[in-house]
Assembly symmetry: C2
Homo-oligomer: 450 residues x 2
């Protein structure tokens, strides 16, 4: 029994959906099909989710929605007509799109959530109709009927644990159940979505709930690669990786699989298989709790992300001061800012943040409040900050990885502004200037994979 | 105008004091002489301070103090008689020792502070008498008369800033002023001591107060060495180092110069010169705000200390949790525990402590409270934890130091359990198992100094 999830690019057109149909038909264990909203058909195309966001905004601002509404309808119509789905089944889908502005919403955040969720909701209904038309014993299963209940946060909901007992009742289904990703309902029956990219999360939740043997996550790459393919030509494919490796690599920019989607998979110990809709015979990448085959490489993957910034704080005798760190962290918490790392020296402290959390105003506020609270001798933000990570279970207990990595970087004259090893046994983190980041990744890849 | 401080071994006997006398006579700028209590004369000897602690304890417990009291008196008598100081000047010193138990004290902590302080106090009186007997224009200056006022913490007092204005009035003294180290008086006139080793602090305070051109700190080594001489034969002597380098090296075990004593020196920008009483012609080590001569070595010194332990905490999705770090640090603060470093991974956090702060009971309490507050998946203490530091202003902006250091350690098969670079630009910190620490220091020394 497998849960199988398709991303937006796999469902962007009737041509793509034909591949999806073949994949589902090829394995009768594939009983739970999670679908995203139709994605881009070509470079420059607009995802249906983005059209729905525009539709919602125009509705909120009482603007003319005719054009965007009909563009959305056309996207579903193209797929439906491609499979000769009867108009009687398409009309309710089109009507739902038309009627979205006429429903009542508790407020605009719920309105936005409902509009966005319909990208997946209507696509799942359409895919179920296509499957049925093609002779499969398939039907649409709404998250409400499935028993998925989430917290009442319209745009960043979390699954409530009792949902898993509800979903378990759907285990061992004879029928193929087509389930929309990305959203579910709060206890009041209102639609709330997961964070963006959340169809992966729905798939993982269903997989855990029905205790699937495998969760197949279909996307548009043959495998997860050991390094960003835009930096290195034909990089090594990762055949197997652990949940922990994936977590650490996601952190520094690996974006193939939605980070939070690992949680239900880990909790249910469900092996995840990332595969390619356009090349389904390729084995893809397995993500699981432990690896069966150790490779020759001590490092599994190398990632980098420039979306970080740092706050440097210097104060004489810092390390003797009880409460210094706590005061700073309390200020961050008051502003709902989480920090990534906090390397500290004797008289210095650097706090590294995900830059997306900060605005120039918030930075000024944080700087002023911290300066007030701890009276540092020096305090400033730095934005020219990339984090590189080398990750691998095989690094555990192996001597000499740091030596090889640091030497590879030094040979390319790359200045290390931060090195953090030790909290995790399976990764080393380097801070470099943004301008050096790509070259650093390439140097590390060549050191560990060539 | 120089402030000159002598440690306990330089004042342990009349033979040693003769050397001190010659040093003071050799330079008429040496007007402020800070003295410690008489130290050990030979391996296995007992420092007068330790005798005084015993004397205080016996007094507190109403035990017979005759033996320890006369041992203390004998130490001063040996020095006094060695210089033929008239009995009329020695008798008041002996009487003060005898009468210590008869004074009244606010409580036993004040009693202890007063007993201990008399090691320095009486030695300064004796040294002043010896100097005078030898024809120097010298006199005893009590910290009270000097205007040194400290916070009301009997065993860990801090200087109050207004003291510096008082001390400034003693600038440009014609007389040689012999001042006891280690203690001063609170606003109520009670004796309070600095933390142990605090004669260095008194010297630095006087040096800042009188705006000395130099603070000469006489001890029993020719220089501060780049590495612990018990690990490496004839290590490189450090000719010049910055305050910051000294701070960072002190942290990881460099114990030649009392860490806190740097503060007044830095504040007053007073150059410190560590010299050898037994070899005063050697130039010693200069510690100053900036270095005049850069050496060929990128690294100034290498230090290690095994007095650390770590608390490892793992929790899934740790780095997304606002408030996690703050909750932990609040618990530490509630127990008055300061932490050294807090390297964090994606789902892991390690907190490194100075082991001396913790007892097994306190560790259990911290672990239980943190477990309660943040519900970690895993939490444990590790005591097999040494910290090594390589420190050097010349490391700033230089590429390749990490490569050389990590390779030297890997070549000796030393496992790195922690690497921390980046908070400070002038140091790299390595965590290794205690059993590897000495070999690691030697490997790093050979890499950077051979």
């Amino acid at each position: 029994m497998k849960v199988i999830k398709f991303g937006g690019s796999s469902l962007a057109s009737s041509t793509q959906l034909q591949k999806v149909l073949s994949i589902v038909e090829a394995d009768d264990q594939r009983k739970y099909v999670i679908v995203s909203a139709p994605g881009k058909r070509f470079d420059g195309d607009t995802k249906v989710t983005d059209l729905l966001i525009q539709y919602a905004r125009q509705t909120i601002h009482h603007q003319d929605t005719t054009a965007v509404m009909s563009t959305i309808i056309d996207r579903y119509a193209e797929i439906g007509h491609g499979f000769e789905v009867p108009e009687a089944q398409l009309t309710p889908i089109f009507d739902t799109i038309k009627n979205l502005p006429k429903q009542t919403y508790a407020d605009n955040t719920y309105l936005m959530a409902t509009f966005k969720a319909h990208g997946e909701r209507l696509n799942a209904q359409l895919v179920a109709a296509v499957f049925a038309k093609s002779g499969l014993n398939a039907r649409y299963l709404d998250p409400k009927e499935a028993g998925m209940v989430v917290t009442d946060v319209p745009d960043d909901a979390q699954i409530i644990d009792s949902s898993y007992d509800n979903i378990a009742k759907w285990a061992n289904s004879d029928q193929i159940l087509v389930i929309p990703g990305f959203f579910a309902y709060n206890r009041n029956g209102q639609i709330c979505t997961f964070s963006r990219g959340g169809s992966d999360i729905t798939g993982a939740i269903i997989a855990r709930g029905v205790n699937a043997e495998r969760y197949e996550n279909f996307t548009d790459v043959d495998a997860i690669y050991a390094v960003n393919p835009s930096l290195v030509a034909q990089p090594a494919a990762i055949q197997e990786m652990t949940f922990r490796e994936m977590r650490e690599l996601s952190y520094a920019g690996f974006s193939v699989f939605h980070d939070e989607a690992l949680i239900p998979a880990i909790q249910g110990n469900i092996t995840v298989n990332v595969k390619n809709t356009n090349h389904p015979e390729a084995p893809g990448t397995l993500i699981k709790s432990t690896k069966d085959n150790s490779t020759d490489y001590p490092v599994t993957g190398i990632a980098s992300s420039s979306s970080f910034c740092s706050l440097y704080i210097r104060k004489y005798l810092l390390n003797k001061e009880v409460g210094f760190g706590r005061k700073i962290l309390t200020i961050l918490e008051d502003h709902h800012v989480s920090y990534e790392h906090m390397p500290s020296g004797i008289d210095d402290l650097t706090i590294i943040f995900d830059e997306h959390q900060l605005t120039p105003e918030l930075e000024s506020t944080l700087k002023a409040e911290i300066a007030e609270a701890v009276q540092p001798d020096e305090i400033y933000f730095t934005h020219d900050y990339s984090i590189l990570m080398i990750v691998g279970e095989s690094m555990r207990n192996r001597v000499g990885i740091m030596s090889r990595a640091a030497t590879a970087l030094a040979d390319h004259n790359i200045k290390l502004i931060m090195v953090n090893q030790g909290a995790s046994e399976i990764s080393i983190m380097f801070g470099v200037h943004d301008r050096d980041a790509d070259q650093a990744v390439i140097a590390l890849y060549n050191e560990f994979f060539k």
